[in-house]
Symmetry: C2
Subunit: 190 residues, 2 copies
């Protein structure tokens, strides 16, 4: 009956979602056309609508995928606050700043997500909650709820700092902003 293996189409779909994530973070959502997104995945534009009902549909799935993946990376870190500090130094590194396509979706797309359709904002809301939960669990393993506010502060400061560093044309200032961001975040967590 099924002439192709069940996994084949699903794998293609997942590949589109992942390459689109990279492209969106690099060129913006509005800045990435469907034909380009499909070419990135090694396909042509026509196949797009066999996988997604619309570009908006893809955007919502990409946002969900990006944030889920990011939340999962927390499990690879050292336990507790030490892991958080490692995450922070990596997050606010020139390497991360200079490669948005491979980096954090929030830093690359947050204001654009604010202008997206409801489905995308739903996906973002769920994903962001999971990430802030991960942070809170590391700040106060015994009572994560109590650290939720502080986790939000760390999250927003990190995202804002990376965005600012990317928007500056003065490389020296851009580097200082990252370093100062690490100091500020560590001070804030104390």
């Amino acid at each position: 009956m099924a002439r192709y293996s069940k996994e084949h189409k699903e794998a293609t779909r997942q590949r589109i979602i992942e390459t689109a994530g990279h492209r969106f973070k690099q060129d913006g959502i509005d800045g990435s056309g469907v034909a380009t997104l499909m070419a990135d995945a090694g396909l042509t534009n026509g196949a797009f609508y066999a996988h997604f009902t619309s570009k908006d549909d893809l955007v919502a799935r990409v946002v969900a995928d990006q944030l889920r993946t990011q939340a999962e990376t927390f499990s690879t870190l050292p336990p507790g606050r030490a892991g958080l500090e490692e995450f922070l130094r990596d997050y606010l590194s020139p390497q991360h700043r200079d490669h948005p396509g491979a980096g954090c979706a929030s830093a690359a797309l947050l204001d654009e997500i604010g202008r997206c359709a409801t489905a995308t904002k739903h996906a973002y809301t769920d994903g962001a909650r999971a990430i802030v939960d991960e942070i809170a669990a590391r700040l106060a393993p015994d009572d994560p709820q109590s650290a939720y506010g502080k986790a939000l502060g760390l999250f927003t400061m990190a995202v804002g700092t990376l965005q600012l560093s990317r928007a500056l044309s003065d490389p020296k200032l851009a580097d200082e902003v990252l370093e100062q961001g690490i100091q500020n975040a560590l001070t804030f967590l104390r």
Copy 2:
């Protein structure tokens, strides 16, 4: 010789810059077409190139104008830290969140500015420096330089918090994020 008063064309140009600022902050830079921008200013698309060499040119001027205007609003606040606290409560209000067109350019456009041409990033860099200077001067009137890092922290946290609140589809959580953002910023400044 000059058949129209000197001020007339300059006033029109300034009007385009201001209405474009509102439109960009509401719909994004990529999301705002030249024809729409000119209609917002009560003109037709053709007149655009009598005022600006390209859309990129306009974008850079709008960014410069937006940040200059924002820096100027600091002078209307009560002196010292009290003014900063008033600013913060206004900045992280549902009113500001729900009217991006009338609000902060950084919160509405920061990640898109990071993808813009050099001229726009230059304009942003100059403008952001002035705003952070204003904040630092209020934190440490006698030695603003020492407070520059802390001013950056306040700035990035405020921008990140407003962006996050705008991207959330859950109104209750979005409100909590704003309130928590105020608390976190005040804690951070202490």
